[in-house]
Amino acid sequence: MSTIHCQSKPKGTEAKTEQSAYTDDILKIKYITKGNAKFKRTPGGFVSLEFEGKFYSRVSVYRAFPFTNPDSFISIRQPDEKAEEIGIIRSLNELDKETAEIIREQLNIRYFTPEIKKIIDIKDEYGYAYFDVLTDRGACRFTIRMNTSSVIRLSETRILIVDIDGNRFEIPDITKLSAAELKKLDLFI
């Protein structure tokens, strides 16, 4: 199978029209930096943005690498269904403290994957397992289906548990669990 790469074949783009100029525009990474943008909290609990002479009354924040690089490559997008990209923040550390804080708040709203700190009990019955855990967001009980797809291994030690509603819970390092907790979890890992 040979897939042809449009960019590497200049002959193919001989008719350089509006459309291809548009295409080139999509391909560029537009960085949002300390100097060129102004983020502000809105009274409704969201964030607004002034960027490239445009004012966005609300923007959404997306992580490109939520698990591996949560603070880098934050994509700023329109809040509607199409979620067109406005720009990318390369790293939160490059922003001033106040702005980074605002963005973190918004990321905190968009992403919600509690970390399991302590496994109090796991009970299994008729094809479902009932978890009673302590997370970094408070105590929680949830239910998972007893099959392989309910537990996702992100690495040898890091797992993600998906419950029947689609909530996800993370255990960042299973080796840090106590022997008793591991024994309860034994069935799933």
Binding site: I4, G127, Y128
Partner: protein, 749 residues
Amino acid sequence: MNLKYELPKKLLEFMKLEADEEIRYCAPYDLSTDGNYIKDSYVAVTNKRIVVFFKSQIIHNISLFDCQDILCEKLVDNGVLSVIIGGQPYLLARFSMRHVARFAYIARGAKLLASGQNKMVVSLEQERICEKCGRAIPGTRECPHCDGRRATLKKFWQLCSPYKFNLLFISVLMVATSAFNLVIPYVLKEFIDRVLYPRAGGFYEVLIFISVILSLTILLITFNIAKNWWCASLGAKISMDLRAKLYHKIQQLSLSFINSRKPGDLMNRVVGDTSNIRRFIEQAMGSMLTILITMIGALALMLRSNAILTLISVVFLPVVIVLSRMWRKHIRRLFRNQRFHSDRVNSLLQDVISGMRVVKLYGREEDEIEKFDHLNERFASIQKRNEVFWAKFYPILTFIMGLGLYFVTYFGGLDVLKGNMTPGGLTQFVSYAGMLYGPLGWMTHLPRMIMQLVTGLERIYDVLDEEPEIADLPDAIDHEIKGDITFKNVSFGYKAYEPVLENINLEVKKGEMIGLVGPSGAGKSTMINLIMRLYDVDEGQLLIDGIDIRNIKTSSLHSQIGVVLQETFLFSGTILNNLRFAKPDATLEEIIMAAKMANAHDFICKLPDGYNTYIGEKGNRLSGGERQRLAIARAILVNPRLLILDEATSSLDTESEYLIQEALKRLTKGRTTFAIAHRLSTLRNANRLIVIDNHTIIESGTHDELMRQKGLYYKLVNAQLQMAALQEANAGHTHGRRGGPGGPPPPPR
């Protein structure tokens, strides 16, 4: 799904409802804005306001009529409810995935109220967790643990009632076998006490004993075989009944129901759940009565013969029950763990083998081998551990479970020596004690078996009790379709909270060909689904020749619609059978005529078996173009008044596209036709093009008119022209290495 929770009384008072105000929707939310779990916090929507409580405090109190928009946004693993007031978005409440769908419905409902429509949104989705017991609900309306159990067992009884005679017969057999079970030790006792112990007999007595025991045993075995045979045939009959009922129901039910379930789920119910029920009838029901009567009888006879000794044996029962439960639990864990790991090995294998080309292309064989070895080793070690455990502990467990018998023998032996008991009496007693202990393991398994039965039945009746949404009205008529179609303010969504079409108005004259254009997901296929009445409109009306589609019998409607889809679905069978699927009584002549019109006759004749060619499952022995032409022939055969072409020519190479275009031209002539195509060139014969975007019709007209308007259609055409130019240039460059699907679309003329 519950959209109206009971608001705690105290909170209700805080709301200070006005006289003409009532709560329409109410639901708890479980996250604070900063992302911590919270409890006892509610959102209530009345016909006037949205009120958000944080615990017992009102934190938002918003008039519905101030809201420009009310949205439930699904974020990553959580969601938020927000409103827009004066162009400014406000976050009202945050919740985990457990409530996202609920709030999506509520937001939609609140929006309807805000727009002055007094309509309620209802959710047909099922709760996943039982509110009462907190258990997961296995895809049914009622929790089998709480509400279902008794009602379901009643249903089970109804299910068995046609087989009352069989049941009675089985019961008689069961009673008889338990009687034999109890009699045999008695005979033994008599033999020991009367013949062996007093040494009072000879060859003759022994022969009598042997023949009595032998005939009893043979009878017992015969009865057991008869019982098992009857149970098996009853189980098979009942599960066959259930499968048939389910299958009939699934055929009747509307697509919206079928689509709301995963196909595997329905298949599981037809195959898996019914066989669970069969297994219950065969394994549990057949032994239940026997075991019960035997145990009670044994206990009674034991008490009669020696009360103290009975007490001693009963004392051990709880120990054995606890032990066997623990044992079973542990074994289940071990083997589930093993299965879990074997699943992992399997899924890795499947993953890699189906992706072998990619693995080889990137030279990752070594890594994949290493990954597999790792999982394989782990699986093997678990397997070994389990087998060793089994081999080591099973004999030990059996020994422990039998410990009670040693005590009985000891104390009973003392009694015999003291003369309180005869040796035969002790033998009989020990046999009965064994009958008490033997089935205990099985008994601890019983609740689980009953639960499986109830869950299986619940899941089956969940489908059987479903009313088909699209049912013929009592006064529905047979109507011969002429071909005028009118959409009048039609709105529709597959889920009540996600409208796919909003306020569609369209009039189509008889014989017109309409091309539907627009980005994917805009609602083109949905419009077609409505015309085929696979779904009913939520609002507005869809008229055929001025008659509401709901007043036409579905069978009458469907017999007059011809459909050619992108993925032609052919059943396994011959070409002839597949063509006749649409019209079982078609003559051979008609079939050849249809095939000729569809440009299919030639290729069919060239096949060695002609029209009798077996085409395999889903017709995969034919090429895409050939399958498509068969589908067209099938559509021609019914001589439909209405024709629907959904991406009928995509994924075809240019030559077969030409043949099909030609066939389609013949087919659409004089028939009202709706055609969807991504390749706009396909629609060049359309009388009118309808452009759909954002759930509604944004442009309509002929190709030329729309090109002049320079709207979305113009953009789409230009984009495709450029694609074509680009691909042509590339194709010239790489000289014939094009290959694969999707040649350049010829530009529309």
